[in-house]
């Protein structure tokens, strides 16, 4: 998708999703963009997950950080946000930023420079990433929105969170399709994981119990170049 296409889709009113009065684009690449705030949110990058597992003898390909950064670069260059929020678990573990290859570090620094960049602390990376620009916060309130890594147990209007790696599944014509998704009920939004090696958990799993109003829950499933909005009644567990 090129820049002009992305912009064009911003304008289409129907593609905008309301969250506590703010309007946002659920981009099929897995990021959330608030045009009125020029704010881009991305969650669960899990950078350096490959090297994290390699330390324990599972030598999966060391290309995940590069792949994730490449995709992040693409969305940032399309939207040109002035604020970027990385919603926690930006690194797979506390030592990730330190282990990161110099070339990746440079690419990440180039993305950060010239913007307000916030690292929200996650359970995998509670501390600020070593020697990287940007501000590390526990949570962040902007207007009516509250950005934090783990969704709170009680209902909070305007909360944008990650952590759970939501996906959704439908069955149509006897065939099953599972995709990562944004999950929202108009008041709260849980973002899909963005990292190249991140798995996902069905929105109907117990882990989501009590987070959403079931009657207005929608899964915004990621398609190849568009979002598919699916209501609760069409979703299947597993």
């Amino acid at each position: 998708m090129n820049f002009s296409l992305a912009r064009a889709s911003l304008i289409a009113e129907a593609d905008l999703v309301g969250i506590a009065g703010e309007r946002a684009v659920c981009d099929p690449r897995g990021v959330l963009y608030f045009p009125d705030l020029r704010l881009l949110a991305v969650s669960d990058l899990h950078l350096e997950k490959g090297s994290s597992l390699a330390r324990r003898g599972t030598l999966i390909p060391p290309y995940d950080t590069g792949a994730t950064l490449l995709r992040l670069q693409a969305v940032i260059s399309d939207y040109q946000p002035s604020i970027v929020i990385s919603l926690g678990d930006s690194f797979h573990d506390g030592g990730g930023a330190e282990r990161m290859h110099a070339s990746f570090r440079e690419r990440l620094e180039a993305l950060i420079s010239g913007r307000d960049w916030f690292w929200v602390a996650g359970n995998h990376d509670p501390e600020a990433p070593a020697d990287l620009p940007g501000e590390t916060v526990r949570e962040l309130a902007i207007g009516s929105l509250l950005f934090r890594h783990e969704p709170s147990k009680q209902r909070v209007e305007g909360e944008i969170a990650g952590h759970l790696h939501p996906c959704a599944r439908i069955v149509q014509r006897g065939r099953s399709v599972r995709r990562r998704c944004f999950a929202g009920d108009g008041g709260r939004m849980i973002m899909p994981a963005f990292g190249a090696y991140t798995g996902s958990l069905n929105v109907l799993d117990r882990a989501y119990a009590g987070l959403f109003r079931p009657d207005t829950l929608m899964a915004y499933m990621l398609g190849a170049d568009r979002i598919f909005a699916i209501s609760r009644s069409m979703l299947r567990p597993g």
Partner: protein, 839 residues
Amino acid sequence: MTEQPRLAEQNATVALPEPFIRWFGEKGWSPRVHQIELLARAQAGQSVLLIAPTGAGKTLAGFLPSLTELANRPRRKPGQAHRGIHTLYISPLKALAVDIERNLGKPVEEIGLPVTIETRTGDTPAHKRQRQKLVPPDILLTTPEQLALLIAAPDARRFFEDLRYVVLDELHSLVTSKRGHLLALGLARLRSFVPGLQTIGLSATVAEPDELRRWLVGQNPPGAMAGLITVAGGAKPDISILDSEQHVPWSGHSARYAIPEIYEAIKRHRTTILFVNTRSQAELLFQELWRANEDSLPIALHHGSLDVGQRRRVEKAMGENALRAIVATSTLDLGIDWGDVDLVVHVGAPKGASRLAQRIGRANHRMDEPSKAILIPANRFEVLECRAALDANYLGAQDTPPLIAGALDVLSQHVLGVACGAPFDADLLFEEVRGAAPYAGLARETFDRVVDFVATGGYALKNYERYARIRKTADGLWRVSHPRIAQQYRLNVGTIVEMPELNVRYVRQGRGMAGRGGPVLGKVEEYFAETLRPGDNFLFAGKVLRFEGIRENECVVSNGAGANIIVPSYAGGKFPLSTYLADQVRGMLADSDRWQALPEQVADWLRLQKERSVLPKRGDLLVETFPRGNRHYMVAYPFEGRLAHQTLGMLLTRRLERANARPLGFVATDYSLAVWALDDMATLFKAKKPSLAALFDEDMLGDDLEAWLNDSWMLKRTFRTCAVIAGLIEKRFPGQEKSGRQVTVSADLIYDVLRSHEPDHILLQATRTDAAAGLLDVSRLAEMLSRVRGRIMHKHLEQISPLAVPIMLEIGKESVNGGANESLLMEAADLVEEAMGQR
């Protein structure tokens, strides 16, 4: 070239110790020629391949060299160190090892031999395994996976130092898979421990015995072969094809039409085994038989997805002759000794001639009496195939899949296993590995890449040096870098990678997902369970079950009923038509003299085809085109098996798309392939845009194949298997999935990342090789394309031909999708929008 067994009378007395001769005498038997011959050759220091039909006393023959040697061995004095394993017996099935323990224990006891025999399988308790290490039995019966584990133990060299013989049972079935590769590498390791080691291979009849003979001995010098003893087939089996009073269907696999006739046959015999090709067919047939079972005969079901406990109960009932019939799949194929089976019914075409021979050997396990079998073709093409198989069996022609070069994922696993056992020198290990027949042609450069992969993942981006699993130390030897690596290795050993499966948990009706604690009926593949909706009814374990939902790693079900019952399909259950049988079927089509042997309705069908269209010559490829509805169809009849046809279908549609014929889909069977399009393909062929010859040109196996492969789910599935075997990702164990999907890195994600960043990685190479050989059957397709070059016969028709009817009936049952997942999502999203009144 068969070496005739030579037997001199005095030879027998020299070779066979007195207690054995006495035992044979007491039984009123005399040793068979091949048993003595094998003993003599083994005593002369030779490794031997024994090819013999079921019931020829193969097992005793295989163990005679060991038993006679052990009989003559002086007894161990008190205080003397325990002696190591003398003979290792390896079989493809755990059940077979257990069976042999029983069958061998009897003569050993009766002869009064001081010989201990034990099994060691995945089911052997830990304390027994430990004790076996300290006090080894003389004869150890085990599986390829257990051998790999024993070799990877630090005391392996000492454990095997007294080893004299390795007996390999059902060798023909062991060598064709990755398990065979792992075993070949294990044998090479054993040879390096014990240079004089002798092997004895036991096999059913095979087309290429020389391949197995090479497999049994070290390939230094290359081409070295074990000796060969062949026992001619026993009594001719009495095989017939059911000549049904009923109409034989055009297509389908259920053989429902023949149920009354099958039931009558069961009633006429003591015990019948009914073989089918897939688990779905087994479920269906079982269901239909019980519907017909007015006399309530004890009829049971046996297939690999059923719960182990249930399978054991069925096997036990069978052994006690308590059953009148049993419906089974290939889980029962191998040489387990059973009760008094006097009839084998084979439902569906047997697909490979040697498979047929094996299955028929099941009836009457005595060599001198004829086995009795009835073949039940499920459709008209299967009638032809059954006829061909029948001729093949009488001719003694046999086929096994061709042996393939050793897989690199298996070699990776082995290299790590060797390092877990003891530090290794790369030069010596390379020589050792090349001694294993499947790896005889391995290049040093490839071997080094495998070692690099085992050490650090072998990536171009050298990021993981500090996490290396094995390291080369100052003395030039490779060592495991951490004891944890060896632990991980032991958990992941083996080459059998199951598709993700869910336990089927039965709960009481009406309890829904709240029901708990019922029995587990068996397993279904996850992808099947995912297509079910709560309330759907499906057939499993011989019951109609109602799907309640998926809970963690369980598929919850209750009693079901009603129409619209779904039958689970199981990946990998379908064998393609063998090359040999395919050729036979083509020959039969071309030769109208041979139609006399066919049932009248089938012969009529072929005559009609000859009238309305044409029948191809044996080496030709017939391609028919005709319009139907507002579509244009092309049907080709290569008879090369479903896998090769599927691949051909994918490639042809790509080409037709480029030629703007606007193809819509295709469907493939074992016999033919149909493609349909919006445009008239006959017109395109006439205008040479492209010509039919150009469309079927072999060059489709170049770029087109590559491009299609890269996005294929088949490649992802294959990659997952390779990655698990090679130790890149860990096996999934039941119960582990509870922690949730978001913590595991799925093989699909790794595949995507690796493919875009390092497409030449050794694991992707291994994946492509596997896919080409297995799921795609590329080599067979290539042979076919080259065979039919200049021999493609195009027939344009105004309407569908008789020969095309079977495949046209398959359309809609199983069609092939492209980017259809997105359109399913769109459909669902549109439904939502419609319901909510948006847009």
